[in-house]
C-alpha cells in the first residue's frame, strides 16, 4: 500500500481515502442494521456501531490495491 496519495499536489495519507470508503460502507451497513433493528441485539449498540466502522476501515485498508 502506498502511504500517501497526491490530492492536487498535496500529499495526503492514503488512509484518508480508506476512511472515506469505510464511512460510505458503514452508512450502508448501519442503515440495514437499523432497518432490521439488529443493533438492539448488542449490549452497547453505540460501541458495536463504532466497532463496525473499525472493522470496515481495517478491511478496506487490507484490500486497498498497491498501485
Amino acid at each position: 500500500m502506498r502511504h500517501e496519495i497526491s490530492v492536487l499536489g498535496v500529499y495526503a495519507p492514503s488512509l484518508v481515502l480508506c476512511a472515506i470508503i469505510a464511512a460510505a460502507l458503514w452508512f450502508l451497513v448501519d442503515y440495514l442494521m437499523l432497518k432490521l433493528s439488529a443493533w438492539q441485539l448488542f449490549w452497547h449498540p453505540p460501541l458495536a456501531r463504532l466497532a463496525l466502522y473499525f472493522v470496515l476501515f481495517g478491511a478496506v485498508s487490507a484490500l486497498y490495491p498497491d498501485f
Binding site: V7, G9, V10, A12, L34, S37, H44, P46, L47, L50
Partner: protein, 708 residues
C-alpha cells in the same frame, strides 16, 4: 412519543454514576460531561500528533464548539462544522486564485462572504446556521493564513479541513459511545411541557371568562418552537429508522393548530361577556366542551380512553355542525346572536383541533397505527431585514479590524481581524440572543484564565518527555474548564480553550514560545471589545429592535396570508410561533405594549388562517362568484386593520367585513346550490364575523409607537 418516554425512563448506568458522584458533592452529570470532553480532547491530540499535523491548535479550537451534552446536538454541530469547513475552504481557494495579489480586494471579498454567511445563518433554524458560521470562519482562516503566497492556499485548506475532521472524529468516538446521552428525554420533556401548556390554554379559554395572559401564551409558544429543533436533533442520532419522527412532527404541527385555536376561542369568549347571559344551547355547548378538555389521559398510558375521547369529540363537533348554532353567526341580525354563533363555531374548531391532535398522539404512541397525512412546512419566519443586519455585524467588525491591521502594519493584526470576524459570526449561531451581550465579557474572562493556564502549562510541559506525560497535564485542565463552565458560562470555556490552543500550540517537538503567548494574550484581549461593539453598537438587537421586528413580522405574516403567498397553513402557524418565541421571549412581557405584541402575533396567526381558508375556497371554486368577488376587498381591509393604531377609526374595515358577511348570509337563506357551495358560503360568513371580532376587540392593531 410516549413509547419513547417508556424507553427513556430506565435508570441508566450513567445515572447511577452521576448519583454516586452527587453523593460526594460533585455535580454528577456535569462531571461525566467534562470527563467525556477531556477524553475527546486527549484523543484529538493523539490523532493530531499521530498524523503529524503542522497546526494542532485548529483541532483543539474545534473541540469546545462541537462537544455538547446530547448526542444528536453533537452530530448536528459536527456535520455543520464539517460541511461549513469544506465549503469555506473551497470559497477561500477561489478568492486566493482570483485576488491573492490584492490585499484590499481580498479583504472586501471576505467581508462580503462573511455578510452572506451571516445573512444565511439567520434564515436557518437550530444549528444549520452554525454551518454558515463555520463556512465564513474557514474562508477567513485559509485566506488570511495564505496571504500573498497563493501556492500555499491548497495546503492550508487541506490542513484546516483535516484538523477539523480529526476533532469531529474524536468527539464522535467519545461522546457517542461513552455514556451517550440521547436528545430523546429532552424531546419527551419538551413535548410534555408543550402539551400541558397548550391544554391549559384551551381549558382556560373555555372554562374561564378571563382571557389568556400573554405570559401563558408566550410560555406555550416557546415550548412549541423548541420542539422542532429537538426532533431534528433526535433524528440525527440515527438510533432507529421508521416513521416516528414524521409522526411526532405531525403531532407537533397539530398542537400548534390547537394553540392558535385556543387563542381565537379566548377572544370570542371574552367578547360574549359584554352581551349578557348566553343562550341555553350555547351555554350547554360550552359546558360540554369544558368537560371534554378536562383530564385528558396520556395516549401511552391509556390509549383506549384517548380513542374514546376522540370519538366523543367527533360526536360533539358533528352535533354542533348539525345544530343551527353556527348559522346564527352568518344570519343573526343582532350582535349577541352573531357572537353566540361565532362561539359555537370556535367551540367546534377547538374540539376538532383537539381530536386531530389526540389522533396524532395515538399514532405516535402506537407505531402499528397507520400514519396520518403530513405536509412539509417551514418553521423559520424569513425576517430578511434581521438577516441583513446579522450579516452586517460580523462583516463590519471584520472590516474595521482588517483595516486597522493593514494601516497599522501590526503583525498580529491579522489574528485580531480573523478572530473578531469569526466569533461575531459564529457565536450568535450557538448562543441565545440574551446571552450575547454577556458572551463577550465571558470570552474575555476565558481568554484571561486560558492565558494563565497556558502560561503555567508552558512552564511544565518542556520537562515532559512522553505523550502520556503531556496528556497527564493537558487532560485535567480540559476537565476542570468544562466542569466549571456549564450552561450560560459555556462562552467562558470556549474562550479558555481558544486561548490555550492559540497560545500554547501543542506540537510533537515540544517547543513552546513565551513571546507568542504574550502576543496572543495581548491580541486576543482586544477582541472582546470588538465583539461587544459588533453585537451592541452595530444595529443591536435590543428591546426596541425586538419590538420593531415583532410588530413588522405580524403585519408581514398577515399580508402573506391575505394575498395567499404563505406556503400552507402549517407554515403560517409555525412562523407565527417562531416570531412570538424568538422576539417575544426577550421582551419584557409585563409591559402592556410587549404583552400586546405577543398576543397580536397569535391573533394574526388566527386571522391569517381564516384568510388562507377563504383563499383556498376561492381558488377551488367552492365560493359562489358573487361572494368570491368580495375577497380582494376583504384582503385589503384585513391588512389595513393590522396597520391601524389602537383607538383609530376602523369603521371602514368593519364595513367591508359586515358587508361580506351580510352578502354571504343573504346567499345562505334559501340556498339552492350544491351543498359544497353552501358549506363554503357559511364558512366565509363565519370567517368575516371572526375577522370583525378581532378588529373590534383591537387584537390585530398596534399600540402607539409600535412599528408597522
Amino acid at each position: 412519543m410516549n413509547e419513547i418516554a417508556a424507553r427513556g425512563s430506565d435508570i441508566s448506568s450513567e445515572d447511577r454514576i452521576a448519583g454516586a458522584l452527587g453523593s460526594i458533592g460533585l455535580d454528577g452529570s456535569q462531571a461525566i460531561y467534562a470527563f467525556k470532553v477531556m477524553l475527546a480532547g486527549g484523543l484529538t491530540m493523539f490523532l493530531a500528533f499521530l498524523v503529524d499535523l503542522p497546526y494542532t491548535y485548529w483541532a483543539l479550537l474545534t473541540l469546545p464548539l462541537v462537544v455538547t451534552e446530547q448526542s444528536g446536538t453533537t452530530v448536528w454541530r459536527s456535520a455543520a462544522r464539517v460541511g461549513g469547513t469544506l465549503t469555506g475552504a473551497i470559497v477561500a481557494l477561489a478568492f486566493v486564485a482570483l485576488f491573492a495579489q490584492n490585499g484590499l480586494v481580498m479583504i472586501l471579498c471576505l467581508a462580503l462572504w462573511i455578510f452572506g454567511c451571516g445573512y444565511n445563518a439567520r434564515t436557518q433554524t437550530g444549528l444549520d446556521g452554525y454551518a454558515y458560521g463555520t463556512a465564513g470562519l474557514t474562508a477567513l482562516v485559509v485566506a488570511i493564513d495564505t496571504g500573498p503566497n497563493a501556492d500555499m492556499a491548497f495546503s492550508y485548506a487541506y490542513w484546516r479541513s483535516t484538523e477539523t475532521i480529526i476533532a469531529v472524529i474524536a468527539s464522535f468516538i467519545v461522546l457517542l459511545t461513552i455514556f451517550p446521552r440521547s436528545v430523546r428525554n429532552e424531546v419527551v420533556d419538551g413535548f410534555e411541557t408543550a402539551r400541558s401548556k397548550v391544554f391549559d390554554l384551551v381549558r382556560d379559554a373555555v372554562a374561564r371568562d378571563e382571557e389568556q395572559t400573554a405570559e401563558a401564551r408566550l410560555g406555550a409558544a416557546t415550548a412549541l418552537r423548541g420542539l422542532f429543533t429537538l426532533i431534528r436533533a433526535q433524528k440525527l442520532e440515527r438510533n432507529h429508522l421508521g416513521p416516528e419522527f414524521t409522526r411526532v412532527r405531525t403531532a407537533t404541527a397539530r398542537l400548534n393548530a390547537l394553540y392558535i385555536d385556543s387563542g381565537a376561542l379566548s377572544v370570542v369568549v371574552a367578547r360574549t361577556r359584554g352581551h349578557g347571559d348566553l343562550a341555553e344551547d350555547v351555554r350547554r355547548a360550552r359546558s360540554r366542551f369544558a368537560e371534554l378538555v378536562e383530564d385528558i389521559p396520556s395516549a401511552r398510558e391509556d390509549p383506549e380512553a384517548v380513542k374514546q375521547r376522540v370519538e366523543e369529540l367527533r360526536r360533539y363537533t358533528g352535533e354542533l355542525e348539525r345544530s343551527e348554532g353556527m348559522r346564527k353567526a352568518a344570519l343573526g341580525e343582532d350582535a349577541k346572536t352573531r357572537i353566540e354563533g361565532l362561539l359555537v363555531y370556535r367551540l367546534r374548531e377547538n374540539a376538532s383541533a383537539l381530536a386531530s391532535y389526540l389522533e396524532a398522539a395515538l399514532a405516535v404512541a402506537d407505531p402499528t397505527r397507520s400514519a396520518l397525512p403530513d405536509r412539509s412546512f417551514s418553521t423559520r419566519y424569513p425576517d430578511l431585514s434581521a438577516a441583513v443586519q446579522r450579516g452586517l455585524r460580523p462583516a463590519a467588525a471584520f472590516l474595521a479590524m482588517a483595516l486597522f491591521w493593514i494601516f497599522s502594519a501590526w503583525s498580529n493584526g491579522s489574528i485580531l481581524a480573523l478572530i473578531t470576524g469569526a466569533l461575531s459570526l459564529l457565536i450568535p449561531t450557538i448562543l441565545p440572543r440574551a446571552a450575547l451581550s454577556k458572551a463577550g465579557i465571558k470570552i474575555f474572562l476565558g481568554f484571561v484564565s486560558g492565558g494563565t493556564i497556558a502560561f503555567m502549562m508552558m512552564m511544565v510541559l518542556p520537562s515532559v518527555t512522553s505523550f502520556g506525560g503531556f496528556l497527564a497535564v493537558f487532560m485535567p485542565v480540559i476537565f476542570v474548564i468544562f466542569y466549571l463552565c456549564k450552561g450560560a458560562n459555556r462562552a467562558l470555556a470556549i474562550g479558555s480553550t481558544i486561548m490555550i490552543a492559540i497560545a500554547l500550540q501543542p506540537a510533537n517537538d515540544q517547543s513552546y514560545d513565551a513571546l507568542r503567548l504574550f502576543n496572543s494574550v495581548l491580541t486576543l484581549t482586544i477582541m472582546p471589545a470588538a465583539f461587544i461593539s459588533a453585537m451592541l453598537v452595530v444595529l443591536p438587537e435590543d428591546t426596541t429592535w425586538l419590538r420593531r421586528h415583532l410588530g413588522r413580522a405580524g403585519t408581514n405574516l398577515m399580508r402573506s396570508a391575505a394575498y395567499n403567498r404563505t406556503e400552507n397553513e402549517e407554515t403560517l402557524l409555525a412562523q407565527a410561533i417562531d416570531v412570538t418565541a424568538d422576539y417575544g421571549g426577550d421582551l419584557q412581557i409585563k409591559e402592556p405594549g410587549d404583552a400586546h405584541l405577543v398576543s397580536r402575533a397569535k391573533a394574526i396567526a388566527h386571522a391569517g388562517r381564516e384568510m388562507l381558508t377563504v383563499n383556498r375556497m376561492r381558488r377551488t371554486g367552492h365560493l359562489p362568484d358573487d361572494i368570491s368577488a368580495l375577497v380582494p376587498k376583504v384582503r385589503e381591509a384585513i391588512v389595513a386593520a393590522t396597520k391601524r393604531r389602537i383607538g383609530e377609526d376602523t369603521s371602514g374595515e368593519l364595513a367591508v367585513f359586515e358587508n361580506a358577511r351580510r352578502s354571504a348570509g343573504e346567499r345562505l337563506s334559501g340556498f339552492e346550490g350544491p351543498s359544497v357551495e353552501r358549506t363554503a358560503t357559511l364558512r366565509f360568513a363565519l370567517a368575516m364575523e371572526q375577522l370583525a371580532t378581532l378588529v373590534v376587540e383591537e387584537r390585530i392593531g398596534l399600540m402607539k409607537g409600535q412599528s408597522r
